[in-house]
Structure formats: structure tokens, C-alpha cells
Symmetry: C2
Subunit: 224 residues, 2 copies
């Protein structure tokens, strides 16, 4: 996705990738604060010294995984031409965004903590968050201008922010409700209900046949 | 609020209350995981032994503060007669709910962590969360039946859940966005915008004059 990143030294070493895969699994299962670099080295089958060669601190692993998430999320949301996007695509976009969040769920479970602890993560995370809000807003404004959405500019702004908020925290909320503290264990049903919750934010702004069609689709997700 | 609770030994001791006040301030400012019981004792001006007499573990303090929050929140939301509640009251209810959340903001910042770590907290927190969702749903259903809200039963269900989700995580999100890791420092503007975000979930379900009136009120909050 980013040639300059891929060209960095060590960036494509198989060991480095294995460390990241292992870390992702452990972080999702146990939470970042309960996983040490020694634990990661052991699980990845390498020496602590070898791990240290690739990543000096746990923070570096967290940030590297966040970059992976960014690339993953960007491939979902970077629609080439907003003017080609219709309301029907929204289900798919939100569903794919939730799949990316589920894959990197540790980032969303421990959001406040991780961002407070790791400055390098916070900078990227917030920039990406603001970008998501702005992109969602632009997409909704396009739908409104196109007559697919009956909302004022102020309502579009609030709606975009609520869509990002619900997407960001849905799996964390379900984790607390279902006593799955590590949302790596979030079920497909949780994911479908998350898509439903986000889309239900948009439904009341639709009119006529679009609203009926969205309600039908919503029932399908709600029943998942 | 609960006579049986107030009658418990030690429940109304001035030292106990001072420990809780001090803990609340420190937890809000620094996060639970960065505050030790020795730190609390020192700030409250008592010996560690005296603190231990009132609270064996930090968890006991967290749970006691959560009970305080529950009483505070219940006084906001326990409307005596739902049939008397109109859509105009919603602004006030949501605003007061946010004030309670701001006062006990540490609970909402570290939600997933605290609930994963302290089983006694989780049980109460989740019960109260489900109760809030059910109560919000009942209130919205009443508005719908009364013709103040144009929403199906499925939409009311999704709306209630989104209202609780946005209320629960709004200050945490703003904390990350504004780099205020401890939302005890949340500004009144953050709080007003939170009220606006929650109410903006309801606006599209209103019709005619109620919608116009809500939009006017929303602008007032958005400009705060």
C-alpha cells in the first residue's frame, strides 16, 4: 500500500511478520497490558534478543500493528470516486469496516489506555479517526446533495460523528455486556449487530423506497 | 436511596466518605491503575491501617464509588411516571445524565479494563447498563405510542441502544481526540456536545413542529 513503508529496513522480514502475527493474536486474546515482549518472543519461537533486534519496545509492536490496521481499513474505506457511491453500498462498507476492527480488536478495547500510554500510537490513531469522521461526513453530504438522504449539514456532521463513535466502541460495549473482556472473541453475531446499529443511525434520514429497502436489510442483520 | 445500604456498618463514617471523595478525585485525574491505596491514604490524611479498616482492597473503593454513581444516575433517570414525560424533557434528562457521567468519569474512561478486572463492579455495571437500555427503550416506546416519535419497535430498540452507547463512550472519545486521557478534565463544551450528539440520534424520528423545535435546541447545544 505504501512503497516508502515497505522499503524500510526490516520491514518485510519473515521474522518481523511472525512477531506481528503472534503479537496480534496475544493482544487480542489477553490485552496489551498482560502481554510482555518475552511472552511474545516465546510464542513466536525466537530469542528475546532477536525480538529486540526487530522491536525495541512493546510500543513499537503496537504501532506497527496499528499501521497494518490503517492499511487494512484504508483499503475498505478509500472509495475511488464518492460520486459513484450509492446508499446501497453502505451496508458493505460498514460490514467491512467492522471486520477490520474485529481483526485488530485490542486497539478498540483498550483505546483510552493505549492512546494515553503510547504517544506515537495516539498521533496516528487520532489523525486516522479525524480522517474517518471527515470521510464519512463527505460521503453523507454527497448522498444528501444527490437526494438520497434528507439531512441538513448540521445533521450530517452529527450523524458522521455518531457513526464513527458507534463503530469504534460497539465491540467494546458488547465485550462488557457479554463478559468477553477481550473482543478478539467477538462473535459474528456481535459483528452483524454492530453493522445494524451503525446503519440504524442512517435509516431515519432516508425517505420512501430507500427507507423501506434499508429497513428490510436491517431486519436481516438484526436477526443474524 | 437504599435504607439497607445506609444501615450497613461503617457506611456513613466521615472518614469513609473522605476516602471516597479523595479516591474519586484521584481516579478521575490519574486513572484507577495509577493510584495506589497508600496514595489515597496519604491524600486523605489517614494511615494505611485506617484506610484498610474501611476498604480492604482498591476494588472495594471502586465498587463503593460505583454505588454512589448509581444513586446519582438513578435520581436523574427515575422519572416517576413515564406517561407524564414529553419530548421536551429529553434535553434536561440527557444533560443531567452527562453531568453524572462527568462526575464519575474514571468509570467510563477505563470501562473495559475495570470491568475485566473487578468482577463485583462488572456485575453491577452491566445490570445497570441493561436497565438503562430498557428504561430508555420504554421511554421512547411511550413517546412513539403517544405520537411524538415516528419509529417502529425495531427502530426504538436500536435507538435506545445507540443513545446509551453514545452517552457511555462520548467523553472517552473526546478524551482521545483532545488528548485529555483523563476525562475528569472534560470541559463543559465537551459535555454540551455530548448532549447534542445523543439528542441528534432522536431528531430524525420527530415530525413537524417537534422536529423544528429540537433542531433549534440542537443548534444551541452545538454552538456551546
Amino acid at each position: 500500500m505504501s512503497a516508502s513503508r515497505a522499503a524500510k529496513p526490516k520491514a518485510s522480514s519473515p521474522t518481523r511478520e511472525r512477531v506481528l502475527d503472534t503479537s496480534l493474536r496475544l493482544f487480542n486474546e489477553q490485552g496489551v497490558q498482560h502481554v510482555t515482549t518475552n511472552h511474545i518472543a516465546e510464542e513466536a519461537g525466537i530469542s528475546p534478543g532477536n525480538l529486540y533486534y526487530h522491536f525495541r519496545h512493546k510500543e513499537d509492536i503496537v504501532v506497527a500493528l496499528y499501521r497494518r490496521y490503517e492499511v487494512r481499513a484504508a483499503s475498505v474505506m478509500n472509495v475511488p470516486d464518492a460520486s459513484q457511491v450509492s446508499i446501497d453500498d453502505l451496508w458493505l462498507l460498514v460490514h467491512m469496516a467492522f471486520e477490520a476492527i474485529q481483526e485488530y480488536s485490542f486497539l478498540f478495547r483498550d483505546l483510552s489506555d493505549l492512546n494515553a500510554e503510547y504517544a506515537a500510537l495516539r498521533q496516528r490513531f487520532v489523525a486516522n479517526l479525524e480522517h474517518s469522521i471527515a470521510r464519512t461526513e463527505a460521503y453523507l453530504m454527497h448522498l444528501a446533495t444527490d437526494g438520497q438522504l434528507d439531512a441538513t449539514a448540521m445533521e450530517v456532521k452529527a450523524l458522521a460523528l455518531n457513526m464513527v463513535l458507534v463503530s469504534t466502541y460497539w465491540l467494546a460495549l458488547q465485550g462488557v455486556r457479554n463478559h468477553k473482556p477481550h473482543p478478539g472473541g467477538a462473535s459474528d453475531a456481535d459483528l452483524s449487530r454492530g453493522v445494524f446499529q451503525v446503519l440504524s443511525l442512517v435509516i431515519p434520514y432516508l425517505e420512501g423506497p430507500a427507507r423501506l429497502a434499508m429497513r428490510r436489510e436491517a431486519r436481516r442483520y438484526a436477526a443474524a
